[in-house]
Amino acid sequence: MTNAFSLYTPRASALHRLHPLTMLALVVFCLVAGLALPGPWGPYVVFLLLILPLAALGQVLPNLLSTAVKIALPFAISVFLIQGLFWTGGTPVVELGPLSLKREGLWFAAQSTGRVLTVVSSFLLLSLTTRPDALMIALDQRGAPKTLTYIVLATIQIAPRFQAKARTILDAQRARGLETEGSVGRRVAALLPLVVPLVLGSIIDIEERAMALDARAFSRSGPKTSLLTLRDTSAQRAGRWLLLLGMIAVVALGIWLRRAA
């Protein structure tokens, strides 16, 4: 899917064969569990015992790990330094000259890092294994508005083209010596010649984009059909209900564990 704004990676895996809604339910379950379970350990349990094995099953483990780490690492460094060093009234565990790392701060940083890791890797799991068009069509077959499907799919197809266009304009501006020094105001103002033509041009285009939609009966009322068919099974339907119950259970468990602590 090199033409769309998506990380979807085709594989002949069991996860890839799942109905997109089953995959969605699975990922939302991971997300809810990761945020509901308490303490620094909660998110890590979900990450290690749920998300990573699923990624392995989907044959996307290396992709998921490398991207997740790339995104989570700057967070982790920042949060460990800031909350570790500057935790107010914590217990020092390591002395670093005039500063010290505090146990409570490190504890908190570990928990935040775990949450970031779960959020990021849940979304990555979904996007690596699920075709965005299949997901949107599944949602609209379940009654989600057509306009939503259109907005999402059109966005992920035109965003890469806009990024390319923005890059080209930026390179041109750089070649002409884009303002990189001076006050923030000056530098933002120097961006105007980059931003304004890009936006203006694309707004002028929307008139034709709208006409193309109307010429294809998009805003017609009445029932619509679909060329793409998605395979669903009763086992998967049952699975989705179980995952929903599982979410409720894990939230309850989280509350109970926090109470007990």
Binding site: F5, I82, Q83, E207
Partner: protein, 193 residues
């Protein structure tokens, strides 16, 4: 045809989201202390009204995250939605007719964004973003502020400035739009000049 918005607004939304993403990512490359990732959202709010703005903002962060490219943005989808909503409301109040009122709208939107994003930032992300603005959080924590206050402090320093710049850029763009196109949008009567 009972539909919440016309085809023109509908065609505008994905383009606006793509603008948010494309410009947002360029700015990251330039290491500027603003985000400018809501130009499209504010534009839709101004041209097409609060609901369209809300949808544009919310979907920007959801798509940006669920596509796997910037998953850390998704939890803030409601902040982006409120920005679009507020731009739409300020436009309907006629604030876009003059640059001064519109800029004020940008500042207010920035303050609101800082307030409502702080809890998510603190709870999910430990108050940091992994970017340069974390120095503000560090400074505030060092001087004894709580996590929520420090996060909010970071937001209140960067958000109003960012939204001010965004609102002004959008205003300039809309004023440059050909009249024949401007008259076609739902908010035509509230646009600058």
């Amino acid at each position: 045809m009972q539909r919440s918005f016309n085809t023109l607004t509908l065609a505008l939304i994905p383009v606006a989201i793509a603008i948010n993403i494309a410009i947002g990512q360029i700015i990251v490359l330039l290491k500027l202390p603003v985000y400018l990732d809501s130009i499209g959202t504010v534009l839709v709010g101004l041209l097409a009204g609060p609901i369209a703005g809300l949808i544009t903002g919310g979907l920007t962060n959801i798509i940006w995250g669920v596509s796997g490219l910037n998953p850390q943005y998704t939890p803030f989808f409601y902040v982006a939605a409120v920005i679009g909503l507020m731009a739409g409301i300020f436009a309907r109040l006629g604030w876009a007719r003059t640059i001064w009122m519109w800029a004020l709208g940008g500042l207010i939107t920035g303050v609101v964004a800082a307030i409502i994003s702080a809890p998510t930032s603190a709870i999910v992300f430990g108050g940091v973003t992994g970017a340069g603005t974390d120095l503000i959080v560090a400074a505030l924590r060092a001087s004894g502020a709580g996590i929520m206050q420090a996060t909010f402090g970071q937001g209140i320093v960067s958000d109003p400035l960012d939204k001010l710049a965004t609102f002004v850029i959008v205003w300039l763009i809309v004023r440059a739009l050909p009249l024949r196109l401007r008259v076609r949008f739902p908010n035509a009567e509230y646009l600058p000049k």
